[in-house]
């Protein structure tokens, strides 16, 4: 049963931040997704370690850039890209929302954060394990715990921003970022916070990616042509390409946003999080199709809109053999197919699968589309999979940027553990 909150608190997005393989910072990222710029490159260290897939998406960040976000003290013994990316995206989003970041700011009980990750600082973990095995446990110093605890990212940010509301980390595999967004949305909706900074991050590390390589779910066919490697919805899709980075969004009650005269990117109209329980075809690694469809339809119910209103979908669409099933699930959940299907795209064609960070980075991309009224291009699917063309027409999968009126956009993420999340964004209007 769906519980419907009997209040009229509206939740809007007032700030965005992103660290992605094809663009660091909102401006660069917006430019990149509009142009369909690939952030996938070849990585010799993957090849040296014997990976089948030697390509991936790693954001490019200089040492000077790091110092804009973290102090020299914070960077001493620092070895966690997920915390770095998360801090950068979140600080950018908070500033973008019109706040200042000051270590002496007053404690803000009205603002909280939910920032997810899969594992935290896996390279730091490795470093620590080697020291311990070498009987040098005392050489860990003070930096190991805070960088390797799952909530390291929220702990760093809570202190940098001085938040006094809930400060926590969620983790639900590739659903993490979208789930964080919906958790923050609910907290504001319940009247427990005015603002929630939400997002997720994922390390750039062969130790994060290795297990997926071993499962043969990553593409090994494009080591010579990295930019062509990530091919969601393509007939020649050969597995996902690993990515990394972070995305962050400032959610705020409409009342608070109007009071501050903040820029409003979009409204979060509603959403749903569920699980397929690894039943009816669902497993630890494969989705229960029925639950995926229910997640989407329940999101529409929560948002109180009908399926025909959806103008665009930002899918999960990883470039594995499951893309066709995902499209089928969308067609069934929305009861729309062929030329009646909404426009659909996958950011993974440009940045790869950023795993725990994917939901947040892709939500940032989705919100930018709603704000600036465009649909970014899918790259690498000039050869759309025939199974997908049996379900929807080819023009629903734009290969070039489309300037388009988008009132309602659905964004979904699905993750290992048979978990699902779907959120409905709406172009902001007063009523």
């Amino acid at each position: 049963m769906k519980s419907v909150l009997k209040n009229n608190i509206r939740v809007v997005i007032t700030g965005l931040g992103v660290v992605a393989p094809n663009g660091v910072g909102l401006q660069e990222f917006t430019k990149a997704i509009k142009a369909g710029t690939s952030g996938i490159t070849f990585h010799q260290h993957l090849k040296d370690k014997g990976f089948s897939c030697c390509i991936g998406g790693i954001p490019s960040i200089s040492e000077e850039k790091k110092l804009e976000y973290l102090s020299p003290l914070q960077l001493r013994g620092f070895n966690s890209t997920s915390i770095l990316y998360g801090c950068m995206a979140a600080i950018d989003a908070w500033k973008d929302a019109g706040f200042i970041v000051d270590e002496n700011s007053n404690l803000d009980y009205d603002s909280g954060l939910i920032f997810g990750t899969g594992t935290s600082g896996i390279e730091k973990f490795r470093e620590s394990i080697y020291k311990i095995d070498d009987q040098k446990v005392r050489r860990l110093g003070s930096t190991s715990v805070v960088q390797t605890m799952a909530s390291g990212i929220s702990a760093y940010l809570g202190g940098i921003l001085g938040f006094g509301n809930q400060v926590t980390t969620n983790s639900s595999a590739c659903t993490t970022g979208t789930e964080a967004l919906l958790l923050g949305f609910e907290r504001i909706k319940y009247g427990n916070a005015k603002r929630m900074l939400v997002g997720s991050s994922s390390d750039s590390s062969l130790y994060t990616w290795g297990g997926f390589d071993a499962m043969r779910v990553m593409s090994y066919k494009h080591n010579e042509s990295p930019e062509k490697g990530s091919r969601p919805m393509s007939a020649t899709a050969a597995g996902f390409v690993p990515g990394s980075g972070a995305g962050a969004l400032v959610l705020e009650s409409l009342e608070s946003a109007l009071e501050r005269k903040a820029t409003i990117y979009a409204e979060v109209l509603g959403g749903n999080v569920n699980s397929g329980g690894q039943r009816n075809g669902g497993t630890l690694t494969a989705p229960n199709a029925e639950a995926v469809q229910k997640c989407i339809t329940d999101a529409l119910i929560d948002a109180n809109i009908s399926a025909d209103k959806i103008d665009a979908i930002n899918g999960h669409l990883t470039a594995t053999s499951k893309d066709g099933l995902e499209i089928e699930n969308w067609t069934k959940a929305l009861q729309r197919k062929g030329s009646d299907f909404p426009l659909i795209n996958s950011l993974k064609s440009q940045v790869g699968h950023c795993l725990a960070a994917s939901g947040a980075i892709e939500s940032v991309a989705s919100v930018l589309q709603v704000k600036h009224q465009f649909v970014f291009p899918n790259i690498n699917c000039e050869d759309v999979h025939p199974k997908i063309l049996d379900l929807i027409t080819k023009d629903k999968i734009p290969q070039k940027i489309l300037e388009k009126k988008i009132n309602f956009l659905a964004k979904a993420s699905f993750g290992f553990g048979d978990v699902n999340a779907c959120v409905i964004f709406k172009k902001y209007s007063k009523v």
């Binding site: 020299p72 003290l73 001493r76 013994g77 005392r138 050489r139 110093g141 003070s142 930096t143």
Partner: protein, 83 residues
């Protein structure tokens, strides 16, 4: 190594951890790491690791607990170096 030479090296070591610049400017033998320099207590273990590397000594747990001021730290460094 003289006491003064040790203090010079120690000053470089603690610098990145200092949160009170005024206290750091006036750093002397009587300076307390936490009270005067406002160093985060969690960072004291990092300072000790840096001291071990700089002076090529090893500091045991009992000595570590005493290393809260410049004076005590200098004394322990001298003791370990002469051991």
């Amino acid at each position: 190594m003289t006491k003064e030479e040790i203090i010079v090296k120690l000053t470089t070591i603690v610098k990145p951890y200092v949160q009170n610049e005024e206290g750091f400017k006036n750093m002397n033998e009587e300076t307390d790491f936490i009270k005067d320099l406002e160093i985060n207590s969690a960072n004291l273990v990092d300072i000790i690791l840096d001291v071990e590397d700089e002076f090529k000594i090893e500091i045991d747990n009992d000595s570590m607990e005493q290393m809260l001021s410049v004076k005590a730290t200098v004394a322990i460094i001298q003791e370990k170096m002469n051991a």
